[in-house]
């Protein structure tokens, strides 16, 4: 009897050991850094070992008009971008899902390109297009009305750029939502004598409202979390936004870590509120509609409507693809700035030789990014496989909590996670000195992109029947053997998909690189950033062209192979 009990106790420990390993990983990698952000915002001198000045960073934020203005700015910007995305994205989704518009695959490509590109590159290219002596001014031979620049380098320009890069979100959401609407409602309404307008107003729009609301919330979240656009265009527009201000506070002298953590906490509060409402909207979404049925109503457009739709799509194409990416490529080829953009002899491939020549800083930056892009996803893949396997086997509070923590970095602004990592690994009590080395960057990439892999691992685990595993266990296989011989091979397709995605994102990652860059290293994104800041416009655009081309091609290949809509990847 005693013996039996002891065995059960022993088994329980063995069983839970894996769960505790996962707990330990999550504690060190995710919870500890985030706790540091929170703690430093409360006790500004906690790293110095003192608890003085409780809450003073927050008091500073709310007392200083400037900082409070930054918070207000961010919220206003988020709202404006969300509205913009609804205005642009809803018609786009409607055209794709509900009309007989020809050339839908072309439209999909048009919005896939900005969707898959990092917004900071778009912002930089647009700056080159609009700024004084830029492409636009030369196109109009110097007759660019001053208000265009004034408007662009302002709140409106920031909103414009962000909408261009985020509207596909809304469009995809709305398209999926519309496709999931079964035709019963529309048919019934029509039988009852509703005309087209009434149909749209009384049936389609109300049913679509939750979808619009939810994508809107996600767009808002993406906007306020975005770092690239505020850091590039925002500083030129003199429109400070929280993410960029956090970056300034910890990277520009005189620095102020405590206030940056207070701003981080405010940003986190915003993100969590949004997530909460988004969950609620998703829950309420069920209107008793059986979703997922393939039959749905398609409206045929008349000639005028088609022209209107085509014009709309064309403008989107010009603004979100042709101008930014055209400018990017042209600027990378320009020989002499101010030497004319319509002068063929002013174009050269020389810039590329210089940026990517042997031992050049550009090539080194590309090398660093590629090495991170290879190593980080590999570690993520192994970690995600293990964690999803373990978490799939446990129910109860702890497993649920770990699941939540694992996904947390996904919904939090990256800049906040990175601030946490700096505080955590640069703390005086930290025995392992990886801060300021390559490994810190590696760790940051892993923390930031593990949640994406976990999502894949999670959906993979759901599709693996427990029977396989149980049979193996009955036959006497150890848990480890089950994991390596059964689970891992079955999970592999999901993991490879996540590997490729993390690779692509890592290659052009901006936030972690710029904040954690150890001495003597550069990544592609920091290279683009610093070259642009130092006036090396062509060099910056060369690097941008190469990384965008590489990653977009990789993503397109990936989508061809693994199907599904374009996969989201943002920096």
């Amino acid at each position: 009897m005693v013996n039996f009990k002891e065995r059960r106790w022993y088994q329980r420990i063995m069983n839970s050991a894996m769960l505790y390993i996962v707990l330990l990983i999550m504690l060190i990698m995710i919870l500890y850094p985030l706790a540091m952000v929170f703690l430093q915002s409360l006790f500004p001198d906690i790293l110095g070992g003192s608890l003085k000045g409780f809450l003073s960073p927050f008091i500073q934020v709310f007392k200083s008009e400037g900082l409070l203005q930054v918070v207000v700015n961010t919220i206003l910007w988020g709202i404006a971008v969300t509205i913009g995305c609804v205005i642009v994205g809803v018609p786009c989704g409607f055209i794709l899902a509900k009309t007989d518009m020809p050339g839908k695959s072309v439209i999909r490509v048009i919005y896939a390109i900005p969707y898959m590109s990092p917004p900071y590159v778009g912002a930089l290219a647009w700056i080159l297009f609009i700024q004084e002596k830029g492409f636009l001014e030369e196109m109009l031979s110097g007759h660019l009305p001053a208000f265009v620049q004034e408007l662009f380098f302002s709140f409106w320009g920031l909103t414009f750029i962000m909408v261009l890069f985020l509207y596909p979100f809304t469009a995809l959401g709305v398209e999926a939502g519309l496709r999931a609407l079964p035709s019963n409602f529309e048919n019934s309404a029509r039988v009852l004598g509703a005309n087209r307008k009434a149909l749209l107003r009384r049936i389609v729009v109300p049913l679509l409202m939750p979808v619009i609301l939810n994508t809107g919330l996600l767009v808002f979240l993406q906007t306020v979390s975005n770092f690239g656009v505020p850091a590039t265009l925002g500083s030129r527009a003199r429109y400070p936004i929280i993410t960029a201000e956090i970056y300034n506070l910890i990277s520009s002298w005189p620095i102020n870590f405590p206030v940056s953590t207070a701003l981080s906490c405010i940003l986190v509060a915003m993100a969590l509120t949004i997530m909460y409402f988004s969950e609620r909207v998703l829950k309420k979404r069920d209107y008793g509609v059986i979703s997922g049925r393939g039959i749905y109503q398609v409206y045929s457009l008349n000639r005028r409507q088609r022209l209107l739709a085509a014009g709309f799509i064309f403008i989107l194409f010009i603004c979100s693809v042709a101008i930014p990416f055209g400018t990017m490529v042209l600027a990378s080829l320009v020989k002499l700035w101010g030497g004319g953009f319509f002068n063929l002899s002013n174009y050269t491939l020389q810039n590329y030789y210089e940026v990517f020549g042997l031992h050049s800083p550009g090539l080194q930056a590309l090398g660093v990014s590629f090495s991170l892009g290879l190593i980080a996803p590999t570690i993520i893949l192994l970690g995600a496989a293990f964690i999803s396997y373990v978490l799939a086997h446990y129910k109860g509070g702890l497993a649920f909590a770990l699941n939540f923590i694992g996904f947390l970095p996904r919904s939090l602004p990256k800049v906040v996670v990175v601030v946490g990592l700096i505080l955590a690994w640069n703390a005086p009590w930290m025995g392992i000195r990886i801060y300021n080395t390559y490994f810190m960057l590696l760790l940051a990439y892993i923390v930031l992109y593990l949640p994406d892999a976990l999502r894949y691992g999670d959906s993979g685990m759901r599709n693996i029947t427990k029977n396989l595993e149980n049979s193996a266990l009955v036959m006497g296989a150890s848990k480890w053997r089950v994991f390596t011989k059964i689970i891992f091979p079955l999970l592999r397709p999901y993991l490879i998909a996540s590997w490729i995605l993390s690779f692509i994102i890592s290659v052009r990652e901006l936030v972690a690189s710029i904040l954690l860059l150890p001495p003597g290293l550069e990544t592609t994104a920091t290279y683009i950033f610093s070259q642009f800041e130092q006036g090396g416009l062509s060099e910056a655009m060369c690097m941008a062209t190469v990384t965008i081309t590489l990653t977009v091609v990789a993503l397109l290949l990936f989508n061809l192979k693994y199907g599904g809509g374009p996969v989201q990847s943002r920096t």
Binding site: I250, P254, S371, N426, R433, T437, E533
Partner: protein, 327 residues
Amino acid sequence: MKKRIFPIIFMVSLFYVFAAGAVLAADLVVYSAGPKSLSKEVVAKFQEKTGLKVQLYPASTGKVLAKLEAEKYNPVADVVVLASWAAGLGLKNQNVLAPIQTQHRQFLRDEWVDDHLIATGASAMGIAYNTKLVTDPPKDWWDMAAPEWEKQINMPSPTKSGSCSDFVTAFIGLYGDKAWDFFAKLRDNGANIAGPNNQALTPVLTGARKAVFAAVDYIIYKQVKKGENINIAYPASGTVVNPRPIVVLKSSTHKENAQKFVDYYLSKEGQALVVNTILIPARTDLKVLPLRVGMDQIKTIPVDWNWLGKNQQEVVGRFYKKIETGM
């Protein structure tokens, strides 16, 4: 085939990890502001001569100071070169510097040597202008807020550029509220105050803007040498010559190598590299390039460096808030 992919990825990853590990083992870590080309050259020649492995982090003064502050509890750097004497004094006041000496002391100017910092060279501030667009060179700082310069002026941010932060602090230290009002007027007149020195300069080179207020002279001379349409004017009321200090951190675990580096920087060979960057050398036995003016030809305003060392951080912070972002 498919099974081979993972081992290959692993091998490549391992290779990279080892390569990265090799980079980490350095004999000396140098954070250096100022011209990247100069710091890279000095480090390269120093490595060649001594066989020591140096890890260099080249950045703007603001970035270097921010990094030092962020690493307060875990210092990594051994030697720091800044483009701002006042910032060097600020570090000294924070008590993070080791005392410093050099065998080349006799060749150095007295006012450029302190017990904790030694100048490696110096630059002067002026008004750079596009010679194609401006025929009549600007005369003085105070003229630059006139309507004729509306939306034509760029200025580097003192939070990024060390030399500019020295200038702004010295200017405000001397003129007080008059200087604050002037900077506000300059900004309201459409001056663009942002970024490090080069970012302020580029639009003036391309002709998008006419002049850079508070430009570091050596950068301008470099462009003059290249044949660009640009020149520099030193204002009549006087300007700031700011020595660029080299310091050794108290926490350094490579003090001996640090001393070697300091001595190399101040040796004739090291200083020749400074001269070639068109800076003013620290050694009095070397002449500036004929292209630029020397110390004796620049009219300076009186600068109380000790006041600057104590107040620079606050002044720059206030400048960023009040003038740059207009908050």
